[in-house]
Symmetry: C2
Subunit: 395 residues, 2 copies
């Protein structure tokens, strides 16, 4: 992310507030210099952290107008007595400093569940954070929101429209999809395009479906998952009605890039696996099959071991609940067909082993039919390191 | 299983037919000396092996009468060109030797998918198998049907009824729930009680729901899963109508014992974890929550690491799709309450670590409510060994 790629009219700052033990920034602030249209997706988990509840309420009360996002890592502010008070007091204090209505500040948290978050640690740092706001500090935000992630994750796009250029940039974190002691999916995406809020919300639902809803690290959702998109219009460029789909495509690509980075950096992951399904009755049916393949621990361990075990792929698809005729299925691994019409198709084992040692693995599951439902999912291999990371957290 | 515990009127034999490489019996025969009422549960996977299809058809055609079960390990006879021919020819040849109608023979297979099974290996061994039939060889059957399982698995019960005693005995295999190169769930349960077929079927559906449908090793189903129950009436004792529930309870306990043995011997498992849910709206809702907890890789790795990470349990329940108020939830681990009303409840970390090092782990998830829906699931911990076993199959 070079600064000149960044959307206009946003400022960023980070600080170390002592929430996590390691001395590494754990507080991040994103401010739009003009009120932005905002839309958000939140976890569907029945257990929702205090910042998720407050962000939901604020975005509803403000009718989708957002001036700032306040994020902390190191503590999920979930399943604690003071959770709602902490989320409320810290966002209100920030709103006062920024002279914003309190409901135009959205909170997000990630980290350990069930441990009280000391609001003073955040309150004490807010003035410094506001003072440090700068338009090129988005990479610092990408680092400050990480938990067990190994790599900061960012993506950006420029879209040239008839009336000028607009920019999209986002940062995200993931690791395990759920990981109550130290993880969650967070994503913050900014654009300087002029996009009406209702349209932005519809775009986000569709783009989220094709990106964050199409990845699997361990098949779970967290109590804190939050994805916020802001459009502040600072470019002065409003896509004309025919160009809205061009903008939406760029937004979708940005979210897909961020989502794929989460999978590639999944806990213990060594390989990014794309799972394409074609020939299902509908796109939704294709997505259900792709999800079943992506979530199968047996498929994921086979990929870790570079084992072309297509029987596991066929069987995972068969357990998805979607109706298909197994005798019409072709499966391709790394561009080599290993299953034809539901039966073994001969291949060179040595060659296939080498192909599967790649860090990028492609699975294509094709049903020979007249229907054209298709979907792509991204997942990672399941390695011993996933177990190490998740078994030995408190020991 | 002592011979005198075994149901009357059954004979067993095993042989090595060279289907698996290792020289270990891979062919098993169970014969009822009088035609038995039979009921069966099969995989719900869309991809079904040839023996599953044939066993389904035979049990329908024979109206639930069964004289023999022919099982092989080492090859699933699934996703191959000759699958249906092999299952048909081998069961027909056995029926001829035993002088049974062909549809009274039920086949079952487990092992590698997508590799042709040579029917001659089985056909050549059938005469020897029939000759060897003996009434005390059920333990040999328990061993011959294993694949990656480490332990043979059997269970038996005697039920004393007003008119006399009846016996139930069963053997099973599992390992990974699905494991197309070398696994599947198979179970064969025999009783000498007099039970009408329609009643037997209804009992099996209920008992299966409370046992085999309540376990999770890796959350998947195989193409070959088969559970057959036979009631040959050789004891001459028919439970009177009021005693049928006593018999059903013994059948359920037998199936639960077998199912728990599968979990305890799950691939790489070191711990058997029971997950009890109480206070849900219905038993079905409780089962859905228990299943979500049992299937969560994060819960299972935490148990492997003796980590009392109750946040993962609460979060897994929250992602189950069942509505509940998190602030009404108590969670007990090894008899110690770690979460009260959705919040952390203090406990001694050292003591808890020691308790969780046990090979039997109990999770109780209790919703404070007026409803009484409850369910118990059994799962295992997820260890590095699971990955080793499943990643390095062909390498």
């Amino acid at each position: 992310m070079r600064p000149f790629d960044l959307p206009l009219g946003y400022k960023y700052a980070t600080a170390y507030a002592g929430i996590r033990k390691e001395q590494k920034d754990d507080l991040a602030l994103i401010v739009s210099t003009v009120p932005a249209a905002a839309a958000a997706l939140f976890t569907t988990n029945r257990v929702q952290a205090a910042p998720v509840k407050l962000a939901k309420a604020n975005i509803r009360l403000s009718k989708g107008v957002c001036g700032a996002v306040l994020v902390n890592a190191g503590n999920a502010n979930c399943a604690t007595k003071s959770g709602e008070k902490v989320a409320g007091n810290t966002t209100k204090a920030l709103a006062k400093l920024l002279k914003l209505p309190p409901n135009q500040v959205l909170p997000a948290s990630t980290g350990v569940i069930g441990v009280e978050l000391d609001e003073n640690k955040i309150l004490d740092k807010l003035p410094e954070l506001v003072e440090r706001l700068a338009d090129n500090s988005l990479p610092d935000v990408a680092r400050a929101i990480l938990t067990t992630d190994l790599q900061p994750k960012g993506a950006s796009r420029e879209v040239t429209l008839r009336r000028g250029t607009v920019r999209i940039a986002g940062v995200t974190k993931g690791s395990g999809m759920i990981h109550p002691r130290m993880a969650t999916t967070l994503a913050f995406v900014m654009t300087d395009a002029v996009i009406p809020q209702t349209l932005l919300r519809r775009m986000l639902v569709r783009a989220g479906e094709l990106s964050y809803n199409r990845i699997s690290v361990d098949g779970d959702t967290s109590t804190n998952d939050t994805l916020i998109v802001m459009a502040n219009g600072a470019s002065g460029v409003r896509p004309d009605p025919k160009e809205m789909s061009v903008f939406e495509e760029a937004l979708t690509e940005t979210l897909q890039s961020l989502a794929r980075q989460i999978v590639r950096d999944g806990e213990g992951a060594r390989k990014l696996v794309s799972v394409e399904v074609h020939g299902a009755a509908t796109d939704a049916a294709a997505a259900t099959i792709a999800r079943a393949i992506s979530n199968s621990p047996l498929v994921k361990t086979a990929i870790a071991g570079s084992d072309p075990n297509w029987g596991r792929i066929l069987s995972a698809a068969g357990s998805s609940g979607v109706n298909f005729d197994p005798s019409t299925v072709d499966i391709t691994l790394q561009d080599v067909r290993v299953c034809r019409a539901g039966l073994a198709s001969p291949f060179d084992e040595q060659d296939m082993k080498l192909r599967l040692d790649d860090t990028d693995v492609s699975i294509v599951f094709r049903i020979a039919s007249k229907t054209k439902g298709s979907a792509t999912f991204w997942t990672c291999d399941l390695t011993e390191d996933y177990i190490h990371i998740n078994a030995s957290y408190r020991t």
